[in-house]
Symmetry: C2
Subunit: 217 residues, 2 copies
Amino acid sequence: MIDIAIFDEHRLVLEGISGLLTGISEFRVVLNCDDRNILTEKLKSIQVHVLILNMHDISVRNLNLIVQLNISNPKLKILVVSVIDSEEIVLKTIKAGAKGFLGKDSDRNSLIEAVYTLRNGHDYYSKSITHILLNRYISSLKADDLSDNADINSLSSRQIEILKLWGESYSNQEIADRFFISVRTVESHKNHIMQKLNLKSTVDMVKFAIKNNIIEI
Amino acid sequence: MIDIAIFDEHRLVLEGISGLLTGISEFRVVLNCDDRNILTEKLKSIQVHVLILNMHDISVRNLNLIVQLNISNPKLKILVVSVIDSEEIVLKTIKAGAKGFLGKDSDRNSLIEAVYTLRNGHDYYSKSITHILLNRYISSLKADDLSDNADINSLSSRQIEILKLWGESYSNQEIADRFFISVRTVESHKNHIMQKLNLKSTVDMVKFAIKNNIIEI
DNA sequence: CCGCATTTACGTGTTTTACGTAAGGAATGA
DNA sequence: TCATTCCTTACGTAAAACACGTAAATGCGG
């Protein structure tokens, strides 16, 4: 048996969604709610497995609701339903802690499937959402790669060694000791790096090292 | 009409794949090849729309083949087919420049669909691959978020202002001038930030600022 | 009103950066 | 072979930044 709560600010839509779930013997809708505060209150006493949350906008209030519910009800799985399936809203809800997202391409069957999936501890995203996420990810993967090839090749291997250690928070003295060279030499290497790459500050040098995978964030 | 080349080191499998494509009037298999060098050579003279590449392993040779073909034949779309559908191989082939990937869940229909999709300039990934990529992306999104909420809240708004400017490569003096305070005060703020966050070096402070979206890389 | 964090600031000593200079070695090409 | 160029090494000097301690004024919540 899966206990379900449904939240929608529009009572009519709320009832509509609720109706879609009747007739499934394993589903028990224990709460229909159209008020944010009442929802938060009630969920303190009632144990619910899945919360279906219809989002009409990407307001901070809505996102905060997800964040807060996740903190107060760690076991609760939140399934966001929204006609707005922009990249922005999807990413923000996932970051806020939603476990599933149904875009406007979803029907009753995908809603039911999503509830089961969330209950089983997995994430569920409808097809259109999957596409959005995947495209974004793929393009970020590709973008990553292009940025790799610019200035880093102009650095010598010694310069990269120095930059790497320094980027891992070693002091000049520590670097000097490790390579058996003078602190002044370490400084020189860093000066040369800055000159070559035309960097204004050491902060820029950190950023460069991160961008070029010399160090991790 | 879509011109197709097929590469597989195993002649038997090669013929099998080739056979799957007969009977589609819009497809024309113009090259079956089981040798890397011959493939590269022939593709210099023959114009092909889609190359179906069966990868038996993630060797550097295979990945380089993709990279090289992409450089020499920019219009060519490479569709990778592989029974190995690990995260690693998928990510590497995408980075190398493959436009599609068919995992072991694929059948003849998805192969045909993939060829059409690539020809139309889009990417194609079979269901299992989509899952792999999506899970990775989602978890990276979530990981991002967890690191967001910890320490940054402990900083005062003044401290964040200072950190932000400093992270944009402003000198202490410039920051001091902008806020009409002493350089010593700027130093104090930075000291307090380092203490609060328990950071060992200014390099760490840059990383912190990046992780917490105070500055851009 | 008291305690606590914030913002402001200084003192002192160390480390790092800025900018210039330079010597010895390896690689390269005329 | 000799000139050139880059790399690695290193120092001088002055300015800037950092480490660590101290401390006064301000403001806010209990």
